[in-house]
């Protein structure tokens, strides 16, 4: 599903963000990427959803070489990758329904189908009564659930979560992690980047640790 070969990423500074990173994630895997702040976790996720291109090396996602992908192919690939961020990245001027519907509008689904799918997804995430709310009116956990709803509404092959619980208290953290596990059980490949050792405690999932841009 995801293959990185000797990926090196530099932003021009002295210390590269990623050095010689090689990684394979198979279909249906649940992988934690961990490491301290600045270890390269976010850069690695950005390479996978092609927000950044490797300075050298190759990255293949769902069979596509990200070094040789055009704008249109990239857009189509991103429809198969759901992304969840620590800061949620919700549009404050759009309500919950509109934020989630965004991912379907870009595909050009008819409004009736968009309504149906959004209702279903929000119900699944326990947000059925929050459709008309705007992000600032929601709690952190609710906002993150909206972000997850937007990420999974297109039934993505891969779900990337960058510090998804970074802004949440322990109860909400467990709630979100339980949700991610459920999404994984339904067949989605999930990659979670986190620096929280609490999350990794007692987990039997695969853990990839980054330190100063290298996998250790």
């Amino acid at each position: 599903m995801i293959q990185l070969f000797n990926v090196y990423k530099s932003f021009g500074s002295k210390n590269p963000a990623l050095i010689d990173v090689s990684l394979t994630v198979n279909k249906g895997d649940f992988v934690f990427i961990t490491g301290s702040s600045g270890a390269g976790k976010t850069t690695l996720l950005k390479i996978i959803f092609c927000a950044e291109k490797p300075s050298s090396g190759h990255a293949l996602v769902n069979g596509r070489n990200l070094n040789r992908i055009n704008d249109r192919e990239l857009a189509l690939l991103r429809r198969r990758i759901g992304v969840v961020f620590q800061d949620f990245k919700l549009l404050p001027r759009r309500n919950v329904f509109e934020n989630v519907a965004l991912a379907l509008e870009i595909v050009g689904f008819p409004l009736s189908l968009i309504r149906k799918k959004v209702h279903q997804t929000l119900r699944y995430l326990g947000l059925a009564n929050k459709e008309g709310y705007y992000p600032p009116q929601l709690s952190g956990g609710e906002q993150q659930r909206v972000a997850i709803a937007r990420a999974i509404i297109n039934n993505p092959l891969i779900l990337l979560a960058d510090e998804p619980t970074g802004n949440l208290d322990p109860d909400l953290t467990m709630e979100i992690m339980a949700l991610l596990k459920e999404i994984h059980i339904r067949g989605t490949t999930v990659i979670v980047a986190t620096h929280s050792q609490e999350l990794l405690k007692d987990t039997r999932r695969r853990i990839v640790t980054l330190s100063k841009g290298r996998i250790v």
Binding site: A75, V83, V107, G108, L111
Partner: protein, 297 residues
């Protein structure tokens, strides 16, 4: 394009406009002023052109004689004139006829002419030339030929001053092109910056759209519609203002001078549509330019 997508694009464009009301208001206002100046130039030009075409067709030519021409001379001139295409001899005005006409025109003040020892008015022959367009060389050739005749004093034709107006029109045309070009650039500059501001205000949204798999085209289209709407509004306001000024102006001219012959026309529906289309195109181009810059970043 799917209807649901088109509806989405239009909705987004309108939402963008409403969210950035003030920026758009200033943008539309500035564009309306730029278009108004340009449209005014076009209107003046169209009217001057209209007058020269209307008044120059058919063309009247007056041949003034030294004294009273002999009948045989007059006949030979008439015969000569009829060789030219489209010439109709209107009438011969003798010195006495001319004086009589002048007396009639002076009305109560005709007594002033009683003091004259001899009639100073020349006899003349009026001819009409029917032509398709103003500006053909025939009248000038005729004038030169006629003025070589011994008994002919002077030849005047209505196109002489039309030619002068045409020279002025050439200048106006040149100013219009230069000025129009500058206004075009100004309108483009305004729209480019307005759209750029709205793009920056929606930077996060664009980022998220791209993240969930929106193509560049999908992100750009609402901004292109937004620019076109802005151009359309600016162009429409300019044309409405111009029309209102035109209505007011023609009423005033009629009242003050009774200028029935000074027929001021407005732009034809086709021309109006063309100007409106041009404002939309300028809006579209302006958006394209600012989007191009943004997407290069």
């Amino acid at each position: 394009m799917k209807i649901s997508l088109f509806r989405y694009f239009v909705r987004q464009a309108l939402a963008n406009i409403l969210d950035n009301r003030l920026v758009h208001l200033v943008g539309v206002g500035t564009m309306a002023i730029a278009f108004l100046i340009f449209d005014t130039f076009v209107l003046v030009f169209v009217n001057l052109n209209h007058w020269t075409v209307e008044w120059g067709r058919p063309l009247t030519m007056s041949i003034y004689f030294k004294g009273t021409p002999e009948k045989i001379v007059l006949e030979s001139i008439e015969k000569e004139l009829l060789h030219f295409p489209g010439v109709t001899i209107k009438r011969f005005i003798s010195k006495d006829d001319a004086m009589e006409t002048l007396r009639r025109q002076l009305g109560d003040k005709a007594g002033l002419l009683d003091g004259l020892e001899e009639n100073p008015l020349p006899a003349s022959l009026e001819i009409i030339l029917s032509r398709d367009k103003a500006g053909d060389p025939l009248p000038y050739q005729m004038k030169r030929k006629l003025e070589r005749i011994e008994s002919v004093d002077e030849v005047h034709y209505s196109e002489e001053w039309i030619e002068r107006i045409q020279a002025i029109m050439e200048v106006i045309k040149l100013i219009g092109i230069v000025f129009g070009g500058l206004l075009f650039l100004a309108a483009l500059f305004v729209i480019t910056n307005t759209i750029k501001l709205t793009i920056y205000s929606r930077k996060d949204e664009i980022e998220i759209l791209k993240l969930v798999g929106a193509t560049n085209r999908f992100v750009k289209i609402p901004f292109l519609i937004e620019g076109s709407i802005q151009g359309f509004l600016g162009g429409s306001i300019a044309l409405i203002i111009l029309f209102l000024v035109y209505i007011t102006a023609i009423t005033r001219v009629d009242l003050r001078f009774g200028f029935a012959s000074l027929d001021i026309i407005f732009l034809s529906p086709q021309f109006t549509l063309f100007l409106l289309l041009m404002s939309i195109i300028i809006g579209f181009i302006g958006s394209t330019v600012s989007l191009g810059r943004f997407f290069r970043i």
